[in-house]
Symmetry: D2
Subunit: 312 residues, 4 copies
């Protein structure tokens, strides 16, 4: 299909939602905290927000889920706007070739995380955003940003998830202490972890998240409100990081299959950006071996094939 025609998106979304029924329950729901473990594995939602204001949805598009690592994208936008290119002195921009929570690369590269979308890099990003601020203020800042972007003041943090993350977050505590040992955290370790666990615990629907990400498809300007969220450079940088690093050590596979910048979270959500066209969120809690939504990625693969929206 020629990417410049307008495909019948309503039909496409309906078809995809229908097709995904046969994969219901595929993958393995994250079970490291109870609040994630008890999510119904049969859920599937999709929302596509277009530049003309239409929002196409199917399935459980209005059920909130834990955005987890998808939040890294938005905190990165805030940190880049606040710190500019200085951030790249503390974090790389390369795929890591390792799992999302790997510490090996950190040791080999003196505490500079490979990119901001692995856990170590996200901790540095959060620290860069926080600066000398209070963690509570930073959490409020992030939550407020998400509410504005989503145009929905229902967006909030699930306190049970935040608490569980903190109680079980030894691996992230290991990363944060390692970063601090290498001088790559400024705020106290517990403050950075506190903010990080809260941002991961943001609870949003497909509809909210697809609305929130739309500015990334339009050089940093929300095409509906006209509001400038970030600079074109920031938007392009974030998209570049998503297309090369957005799915941990399965980023190459996602780009191969879908051909769009995207970011996944262990809650089962994926935000994908179709530059110049749309922002898309899919959600299905079952994860594949790399920790990405199995059915979600499949749905996006179908969407890209049917719309011709792949950038490649």
């Amino acid at each position: 299909m020629d990417g410049n025609e307008t495909p019948d998106l309503d039909a496409i979304i309906a078809t995809i939602a229908d097709e995904m029924l046969s994969y219901q329950g595929c993958g393995k729901v994250a079970d490291y905290i109870p609040a994630l473990a008890r999510v119904d594995p049969r859920h599937f939602g999709i929302a596509v927000t277009l530049f003309d204001g239409r929002v196409l949805v199917a399935g459980h598009a209005d059920v909130p889920f834990s955005v987890q690592s998808v939040s890294k994208i938005f905190v990165l936008v805030l940190a880049l706007e606040k710190r500019g290119a200085q951030l790249w002195q503390r974090i790389g921009r390369e795929p890591s070739g390792s799992r999302f929570n790997s510490i090996v690369q950190l040791e080999n590269e003196k505490g500079i995380p490979r990119n901001p979308l692995i856990n170590a890099g996200a901790l540095v990003t959060t620290d860069a955003l926080m600066g000398v601020d209070d963690p509570v203020a930073t959490i409020a800042h992030i939550t407020g940003f998400m509410r504005e972007l989503a145009h929905d003041h229902q967006v909030g943090i699930d306190p049970e998830v935040a608490r569980s993350e903190a109680e079980t977050g030894y691996r992230n505590a290991s990363l944060a202490n390692f970063l601090r040992a290498n001088g790559n955290l400024d705020a106290p370790v517990e403050d950075v972890l506190n903010v990080y666990f809260h941002q991961c615990a943001l609870s949003m629907t497909c509809r909210q998240l697809a609305r929130a990400g739309l500015f990334l498809a339009n050089h940093g300007v929300d095409p509906l409100s006209g509001r400038t969220v970030c600079s074109p450079d920031t938007a392009r940088a974030v998209n570049a990081l998503m297309i090369t690093c957005g799915h941990y050590d399965a980023s190459g596979d996602f780009t191969y299959r879908v051909g769009l910048p995207g970011k996944s979270g262990v809650g089962g959500g994926i935000l994908a950006i179709a530059p110049g066209r749309a922002a898309i969120t899919v959600w299905s809690p079952g994860l594949n071996a790399a920790g990405n939504s199995e059915v979600g990625a499949l749905a996006l693969e179908r969407l890209a094939a049917m719309t011709g929206w792949s950038v490649l």
Copy 2:
């Protein structure tokens, strides 16, 4: 700039060529073989082939250079057309996070190279293309393919480069033997190396290479001749690999700066694909620390900025 308008490309190319004069001689020319070491570091060429048949050139666009790893793209196209998705049982599709000639990842992952654009993966790709054929026939096959794509029968292999590569190629011999020890080469080690050293020694101009790669910007069909070179799936796969893995352990940086699928070679050439629009080749022999053309990447960064061709 809006990506859908036609920018004044002639002016852009002239501007870039002019700007690059001030970077003349930047980077370090590859010196592991004499034929590369003696290339004039001040060379700079650029060629842009458009869907309407125009070819815009500047600088040393008609001086042949050693394409080196850029050849991996074309051999991959041939291997994917011959073997289809079976190839992915022998090679991954993920960024390696390592240098182009690293063997560490191979040991940790039982002889399956991370992707076809690092040396180990390219050796497997070459082996997959060769099958039970004669190495001489395979070399002829590759050369013929490049001539057809470039529409120029001058394209050929520099025998001095091929010989030098063979004489100094201990690192590649190490990789090939390692692959064979893991059962991931079918042909004899020396035959695979023979073909590989010859494909690296292909000598082409910016103009020839930009013409040869045009089909990758058009779903596998040469927009000028109408000839189907490969399937849309192959074209998309190759573009995906270029955008995530095309510049070794600096692939993320290239995508961040340029926003186009691209593949570099230590001869100083880079082929970049602007989907739906053009194929671009830049050439400048000086390499940066990651082994990619320093001025070439800069020229592409400017081109993307001035044309709005970034896919992100």
Copy 3:
């Protein structure tokens, strides 16, 4: 020299102390905490405790220093006596080939430290000793053990060192959290670190430490008091670990040069065991690149050469 003759040890010790004067100040004093950084780099002490009760000393043999990692030996003795071979389900017995505080190996081997003499392994050892006990009780247990072994109730913990270790111990906190994330710590992370930082802060003289280690030269029985400190198996295990892993990633070099089981600490102390003959402590604060006392190792090399005490 034939190892079975009794060399004139008094003369040898005096000679060594004299020779070491010309190396005064060599190496680099640990400076990660103030209490270590301000130690006079010109200090050198040596003490040799023999089976007949004689103690030969020279230099600053009665100046207390921070034993640091030498304490790992004694905590390991206690843990092995308490837990027996079960301990080896939680820690390996192999040289790590990595630095003392490396976390890479931990990630690659699912949280099982390579041996008890690197930091990660020592943290597990401390946890195994502590069990469900109070950290304060465990610290008292260790201190009491050292006093008994040294036959000197002056032995104690330097509270400033313990406090500084805790304040700067991000790397160890990273290791401890990583171990806990892998289920290889039972006690709370902060309790294990608390005990660990205190055991490292033990302050002892060469004379005290050489007395304390004597049982390791005699199959676990203190030859002077006749008291059984540990089983022959424990003593042999500890000696084996010292000869293969006692000097981090320079263990092979120490065994090559000295030929005795030994354990170093970043305070500049080294405890060496001459089986059937003596326990030796040297102390000189300047460290080599691997973190071991430079002059201390040299003194032991000379001692082994002059006495023929090498076991090899």
Copy 4:
């Protein structure tokens, strides 16, 4: 048992041989070449050569087996005698923490093998011994040396094993090419491999090998003939390397269990040195997971326990 008494060795050897019957066939015979794969897994032999000239044997002590990596010890003696401490500029003296044929460490440490007892280090050792000599002359040199040491001119190389090693030796070819790429081989890759494959193919009995190694227990002087084979420094260096690195990534375990310097080979042989007392060879083809003789190590563990010969 006190290590200074003379235990009833005849009884001990007989007991061990008897005990080992119940482990007959344990472990997995090396099967990468036919000549090794067809060895009877039930074989067990032991030979102990004492300073008084007695040789105590049991089991298949006079059946020749492929010495494989045990040969590394003797080539190292020759190379150290020829090159002295210069050899340590090309090879380290540290345990590798990796498998015998790992290439990871080589890449991370710029082509300097960790020690001479892993394959990469042995290749450099062989190259250092060969220098500008002919490979055939070097093979003859090594064979002659072994014959002299064993006092038995039957000692020779199994040509079938040497040929099979060469035909299947891709992993070693990978290592050798890697070393050459890093400038750490002087002779042509194929020559070094040729000598290496032949030294591994030496075929010897327990009796011959225990006789050959006796000088290592006596500071380099054969106690029976009085001949000086090597300097005391060389003998001590080789023993130190055996106790820290002699069993690949299970060296720590061997030292923990046996407490003697030792070197294993995938043919199932182990040479152990009891300094001042004896040289011991055990042979049993079944290997454990680390590639060391399972029953052989067990027999040595029993021998050390019954004789008190552990050096620790």
